[in-house]
Amino acid sequence: MLEVLNLHKNYGSFTAVTDVSFTLEPGDVFGFIGSNGAGKTTTIKMLATLLEPTHGTARLDGFDITEHPLEVRKRIGYMPDFFGLYDDVKVWEYLDYFSALYSVPVKDRPGVIDNVLELTDLTFKRDAMVASLSRGMQQRLCLARCLVHDPTLLLLDEPASGLDPRARAELKELLAELGRMGKIILVSSHILPELADFCNKVGIIERGNMLAFGGVDEIARGLKSIKVLEFRVMDRASELSMWLHGKPNIQNTYLMGATTVKVDFDGSHENQVELVRAIVNAGYPVMEVREEGVDLEDVFLNVTQGALN
């Protein structure tokens, strides 16, 4: 279990992280979201025992990051926002080196290396030089290195940035798998949608303040939620669009072509049922009504705008 308690960091007179608190349980995959300069890296470095908090602390399985940093280090895998790989060694040598640094027993090392290579899908690159790997593979090698000592907490600083969509999808799958293995995973990003579909918890940080923390839906519900309803009709889409304009709970209407209208809708489920009935009763040839999921980009913008105003 990771308990973060009023973690705070000043750089001189500048406050980078303000009294951040949250708790994560084994199996949690936590998306730590904030725009550039929000304080994500600073928070992660404090948790990784690389930066001393100005005040506040965090405990991992009961070990305090400032009082027992060596105990904490045995239990974390930290992946910085750059790779920091040695490129003049072979893939297996790199992992062998780190299993030695983490005092993995000598007889266990070959098995551990095989396991993490398998998990990160790098078995076929075992004897390749690190420098010859693609960016996505180097990323996975970093992650493999974080896993040699079977840590309880993974701290991954913007792991998805700079990856192509395919590599990103593979990374997501891998992180979900690690979550199922019972690790606590903290992944930062400056893009919420990038994380939302595989994180079970999300925290939004802006200018050093944790503005929201909880499940993705929870956060969305906490806001005055706006959802997007999409109506597909056989024809008369522009007429429908005009008809919808100004109806209760409808904020904006968008005509999306000859057969589709979208609206920003902020009513309850009951209001939604009424609206659909009214449209049908008004004689529009509705073929399909679709509710788009919570638009995470909007959630994020909403939450962070609140802080800026």
């Binding site: 470095k45 990784a48 025992t49 690389l50 930066l51 001393e52 990051i65 400032t66 009082e67 027992h68 940093p69 060596l70 105990e71 280090r73 045995k74 974390i76 930290y78 910085p80 750059f82 790779f83 920091g84 790989l85 040695y86 490129d87 060694v89 040598e93 062998d96 080196y97 780190f98 030695a100 640094l101 983490y102 005092s103 000598v106 290195r145």
Partner: protein, 274 residues
């Protein structure tokens, strides 16, 4: 290997030296690089021994010591200048600092990277002397005497002691510079410059202040060497003085490097608890 592994258990940082050794000397697997290096070293060493044995009457054995001394300094600088600076340049330092290693383990462990090459050179020195007609006999034949008429064994120990302490000092100096610099190239240049300053410029300044003459003083490692082989008016005691200051200054530089590294983590107690 098992003795090494027992040491590595106490300081996991030794793994780096082990991996480097395996790369250059390991014969397991299709390690062409290692085989070539070993073959080349064998040819060179046999060639030197053969040449010295054949032409020893032409070569002054005493040349072995200054050459070894310069080589040891250069090898220390070349093998260690990147020890910590490269971690910063490659941006791998943070990853290293999140492993459960203390600053002391990191610095001392990385210091061992120079040990294999240093040992190889040190072993070559007695081999060189043996090949050239068993040291003392050679000196006698050539009309030279050991300084202060010390037993040859003592002289040999003092000479090797001074070579070992010179290497230790050069290693620690390089490690301290590497702990302070961000770039590998800067570390290399600065280590080399400081090494020259300590061995050439400072002794000349000191001797001109304290002995009123410009020249190499008895504090200088070279003076120790010349005293031991009877080329200089200084007593062979000076070699022990030199061994002493090189060891002491080296240890001081190591403490400095460890302090510098434990500040790098910033985390309270990181350097203490462990």
């Amino acid at each position: 290997m098992s003795l090494w592994m027992r040491w590595e258990e106490r300081n996991p940082m030794l793994a780096e030296t082990r991996i480097v050794l395996r790369r250059w000397l390991g014969l397991k697997g299709d390690n062409l690089q290692a085989k070539l290096v070993i073959a080349a070293v064998c040819v060179v060493v046999l060639g030197i021994i053969g040449a010295v044995a054949r032409y020893s009457f032409l070569v002054d054995t005493t040349v072995a010591f200054p050459i070894a001394w310069v080589l040891l300094g250069l090898v220390s600088i070349i093998t260690l200048h990147g020890a910590l600076a490269r971690e910063r340049e490659k941006r791998s330092m943070e990853v290293l600092l999140t492993t459960p290693l203390t600053a002391k383990q990191i610095v001392l462990g990385k210091l061992t990277r120079a040990v294999p090459a240093i040992t190889a050179i040190l072993v070559c020195v007695p081999v060189f002397l043996l090949a050239s007609g068993l040291g003392r006999a050679f000196f006698k034949e050539n009309g030279l005497t050991w300084g202060d008429n010390l037993p040859a064994a003592v002289v040999m120990v003092a000479l090797l002691g001074y070579l070992v302490s010179s290497s230790f000092f050069a290693m620690c100096l390089t490690m301290a510079v590497s702990a302070m610099t961000q770039r590998v190239a800067a570390s290399l240049l600065l280590s080399f410059a400081l090494w020259i300053v300590v061995y050439l410029i400072v002794p000349i300044i000191l001797s001109s202040i304290f002995w009123g003459e410009a020249g190499i003083s008895m504090w200088h490692p070279m003076a120790a060497f010349f005293a031991l082989v009877g080329f200089s008016e200084y007593s062979s005691l000076s070699s022990f003085i030199v061994i002493g200051w090189q060891l002491a200054l080296g240890a001081g530089l190591l403490v400095f490097a460890i302090r510098r590294m434990s500040r790098e983590t910033q985390a309270a107690g990181a350097a203490v608890s462990g």
